[in-house]
């Protein structure tokens, strides 16, 4: 029997998802033809935000590549637009003059971005944010332009704005409403969001209506209805979308706002269906993938003529994909006479929670700052749970695993891909899956927005029990091995291994020479274990540490001499100034660590620069103690209670050069005003009257973390002893490239406190550290004195242009 002809118009997320579902049910039944206006295979539109924000690349967001179409015998006409359908003869016509006969036809034409009908909206430099081309255009613009304006402070606008910031542009966001994401958030959450995004560098114009795009040919700026103008080189319109229905309408398919469909996604014309953003179901048009995927599932069954549940509409839930901002919203969000709310607002922590209740049932929620509860709340909203159920879970404070345990097998875990808890459990059990990646590969869960990852992890844990936590802890150090850091370190000690190559050979690495992750890690572990015997491998070090200077974007280097405790003198300053002149240093900058950075030195000049400076290396490039920042202290400051400079210098002199898993920063302040920022350092010391407080595990970098008070001691000698034990314990137990802030959280602050608090352990740790310190040499000096290193590492070969006779 000839196969039935199934055609799909719209090679996007909803349509192709539906085809996938059909192939799952009856892979042989149809001869499938797909038309897509875009010249790309089916890709994950959601991830365009992440592409713009630099978290992934366009190449990585393909869902089904060209091969997939081939393997499944799907005829794909990409870059081709359907212009007409003869709904009686059942023929599709495309703009490439193609005619294709169908038995069943799915319309999944998505939506088109809404462009404000204002003057100048057609100027060069105005773009929407919908497809790969838009995304590429913004990236391209950011290279030569500084100022971007995003019109629309909704989900899409904010994600675009964040991306443009990441691309190095200044960003103004213009929004009609008085607060952001006004369709998903209430004013409280909207304002909190605004504050957070302002701190990330966005600039907002709220309650503003854009009237005109200014500029001759290209965009120059915007004018608002109140007459105010701002300048801009790029304008992104993210003010909404409208269902793409023109073509369907022209062919006589009944359309309201979207193409009208029933509970089985059937249009009013026989054998024609619609799914996705172009479809209108019970007067709703959905603009998020979770509902579209649900529709796809229902339609797949319908097309395969299987009995299935009807589609009854979806609850909308939203998450903002901007790093550092956790926002969640689902269901209804505004109180009225009948709908009441439970609110928790913690201004101090910056968290807000609102749970909506209608007729005693959970009907919606808004979370800001902490979205751990989002999956749980969404599932309650979906099943219309009683408020008592929410209060039960809410107050018991049970860990999240029990939430997963209480979920039924039919409940959806991954909204984007419509994967239920049952699907995941079955996949884990029947395929022996052990990681989130495997579950993703097998079930599609967390393939799109990734919001359900924590839930998937919980299900893995629940299904595999103790086995999982074991597997989970066993994170291998890189893809070349299955061994974890602890196993590798134990084997090195036990088998007395002494070279990186030996470790790789003996421990069965699956590459013969390792990679850029394991080579430096092994080099560090070997050095930590055999501090005196091990010969450091230059080739296993990252360039900065190999050449003892920081590589810059253009391949030149920057040099930071030591200035103990941030103290300098006229002599040093003169020397630095002379060197800067002599070698045409491009930039002199005072660093955050109170030192002077000389930028733009050529690799070959480095040894000469160091010789002329005649100062010790500041190790601004190393996984080691960077600086000890100090405040002014008792000798000059009217608040100072202690000699912070003296202690800072002593710490820096004592601990400089020793290798650590990651960089280590310290600070000493002489009173709780904390001018040296001791509260966000790997080790911070704060002087109080007659004592020093020692704080650990702080970080001012990507993961801002306040240091915790380890202890209070009387003398500077005690500070040095505690610091030594702390550094050594960190050296011995942290993963390579793990900052103390992460290490303290992983190992546990209390555990560390107990070990450092133990006098005997403290002595042993300090002994081992002293041994490691004893063999270290000033690297710049070593290089200046060695011709071999200079030729091997620093010299370049230059041959003038060759003649080609």
């Amino acid at each position: 029997m000839a196969k039935q002809k199934l055609a799909l118009i719209g090679n996007g997320m909803a349509g192709v998802r539906c085809i996938e579902e059909i192939l799952k049910i009856q892979p042989e039944r149809f001869e499938v033809t797909v038309f897509g206006s875009e010249s790309h295979p089916n890709y994950d539109r959601i991830q365009l935000s992440n592409v713009l924000q630099g978290a992934t690349t366009i190449d990585d967001i393909t869902i089904n590549d060209w091969n997939w179409y081939k393997e499944n015998n799907i005829t794909l006409f990409s870059g081709e637009t359907v212009t007409n359908i003869d709904t009686t003869k059942q023929i599709i016509y495309s703009d490439a003059n193609r005619e294709v006969q169908y038995d069943q036809l799915i319309l999944a034409t998505g939506s088109i971005p809404f462009i404000l009908p204002i003057k100048g909206a057609d100027k060069k430099g105005v773009t929407a944010f919908r497809n790969i081309e838009d995304c590429e255009k913004m990236i391209e613009y950011s290279k030569n332009n500084k100022k971007a304006a995003v019109i629309g402070g909704g989900l899409l606008g904010l994600e675009a704005a964040r991306g443009l910031l990441n691309l190095g542009m200044q960003v103004d966001v213009i929004h009609l409403s008085e607060y952001l994401m006004d369709r998903q958030l209430d004013p409280t959450a909207g304002k909190m969001l605004q504050r957070e995004l302002e701190s990330q560098g966005m600039n907002f114009h709220l309650g503003k209506q854009t009237q005109e795009v200014l500029g001759e040919i290209g965009v120059k700026g915007l004018r608002f209805s109140d007459g105010e103008e701002i300048s801009a080189d790029l304008v992104v319109m993210a003010v909404g979308i409208k269902p793409n229905v023109q073509m369907a309408q022209n062919c006589g398919i009944p359309v309201n706002r979207g193409i009208i469909v029933d509970d089985y996604m059937e249009t009013r014309i026989p054998n024609i269906y619609a799914v996705g953003e172009c479809a209108e179901h019970r007067e709703m048009v959905y603009g998020l993938v979770a509902p579209l995927y649900e529709q796809g599932k229902v339609l797949a069954k319908r097309i395969c003529e299987l009995d299935g549940k009807a589609y009854e509409g979806s609850v909308l839930s939203t998450k903002l994909k901007v790093s550092g901002v956790d926002v969640f919203s689902a269901g209804e969000i505004f109180e009225d006479e009948k709908a009441k709310s439970i609110k928790e607002f913690n201004e101090w922590n910056g968290t807000y929670k609102k749970v909506m209740i209608r007729n005693g049932k959970i009907s919606g929620a808004v979370l800001f700052g902490d979205t751990k509860e989002s999956n749980n709340l969404l599932s309650m909203i979906n099943k219309n749970a009683d408020v008592s159920e929410y209060l039960k879970v809410g107050t018991s404070g049970e860990p999240s695993v029990s939430l997963v345990a209480s979920m039924s097998h039919e409940e959806i875990v991954c909204g984007c891909n419509g994967v239920t808890k049952g699907d995941i459990v079955t996949a884990i059990e029947s395929n022996g899956l052990t990681s989130i990646e495997e579950v993703k590969g097998c079930t599609n869960a967390s393939r799109s927005c990734g919001g359900c990852k924590p839930l998937v992890a919980d299900i893995l844990e629940l299904t595999l029990g103790a086995e999982f936590s074991e597997l989970n802890q066993k994170e291998s150090i890189c893809a070349c091995t299955t061994l974890s850091r602890d196993e590798v370190v134990a084997e090195i000690r036990e088998k007395n291994l002494t070279h990186t190559r030996e470790v790789m050979n003996v421990l069965g690495w699956n590459t013969s020479d390792g990679c850029s992750k394991c080579k430096p890690a092994l080099n560090y572990y070997l050095g930590m274990i055999h501090p005196v015997e091990y010969e450091d491998e230059k080739e296993s070090r990252y360039v900065n540490e190999r050449l003892h200077a920081n590589i810059q974007k253009d391949g030149t280097f920057s040099v930071v001499p030591r200035m103990y405790g941030g103290v300098t003198n006229p002599d040093q300053l003169r020397k630095i100034a002379n060197v800067a002149d002599k070698y045409n240093v491009k930039l002199l900058k005072v660093t955050g660590g109170q030192r002077i950075d000389l930028f733009g030195v050529d690799k070959e000049d480095l040894p000469k620069v160091w010789a002329d400076l005649d100062m010790p290396s500041g190790y601004a490039y190393g996984k080691t103690l960077r600086t000890v920042k100090t405040c002014v202290g008792e000798n000059f400051c009217r608040f100072g209670t202690q000699d912070s400079i003296g202690l800072g210098i002593a710490l820096e002199k004592k601990f400089e050069r020793v290798g650590t898993p990651h960089k280590v920063k310290m600070a000493v302040s002489a009173c709780p005003r904390n001018c040296a920022e001791s509260g966000i350092k790997d080790l911070g010391v704060v002087g109080v009257d007659g004592a020093w407080e020692i704080y650990i595990g702080g970080n001012g970098g990507t993961h801002l973390r306040a240091a915790e008070l380890l202890c209070k001691v009387k003398t500077s000698d005690e500070v040095i002893e505690i610091t030594g034990a702390y550094i050594q314990h960190y050296r011995e137990t942290a993963n390579y490239l793990e900052r103390t802030s992460v290490w303290v959280e992983r190992v546990g602050f209390d555990t560390i406190k107990t070990i450092i608090g133990d006098k005997q352990k403290r002595i042993e740790l300090n002994q081992r550290l002293d041994e490691a310190l004893s063999v270290l040499q000033e690297p710049w000096k070593e290089i200046i004195e060695s011709n071999a290193i200079q030729t091997g590492l620093f010299q370049k070969v230059k041959i003038p242009a060759i003649s080609n006779k």
Binding site: T57, D59, D60, R501, T511, S512, D513, G514, C515, S516, K519, P520, K538, E539, S540, R541, Y542, V543, R546, L547, I551, K553, G555, K603, T791, G792, L793, Q795, K796, V797, K798, I799, P800, A801, I802, N804, K805
Partner: protein
């Protein structure tokens, strides 16, 4: 007619520590010359296809160099960027004779 190839002496085997690169400029070419762990020499263009990182400073493992800027993995044998990234850098032939290293241009 193609142009005649030239052999240009750029270094000696002894001067080149293993698993490290040396920057060689010949006219307007900037080349990263590598001495691999297995004793072979390889030469590729000293510019990462991603954002122009200097490949000569990368960590060398087997037949690959990891760009020091954003860690792209590039074959020093055929210049191909390894998945998931895409691209290619130019390669140059290297010959060894009497302990001398030549690049053939």
């Amino acid at each position: 007619m193609g142009k005649t190839l030239q052999k240009i002496k750029v270094s000696t085997v002894n001067e080149m520590p293993k698993n490290l690169g040396k920057t060689v400029t010949i006219g307007y070419y900037e080349i990263a010359l590598f001495h691999l762990a297995n004793g072979e020499f390889r030469a590729i263009e000293n510019r990462c296809p991603h954002k122009g990182g200097v490949l000569v400073e990368g960590i060398v493992s087997g037949d690959h160099v990891f760009c020091p800027m954003h860690d792209w993995k590039i074959s020093v044998k055929n210049g191909e960027v390894q998945k998931p990234d895409n691209g290619c850098v130019k390669t140059f032939n290297v010959e060894i004779e009497d302990g001398n290293v030549y690049i053939v241009l």
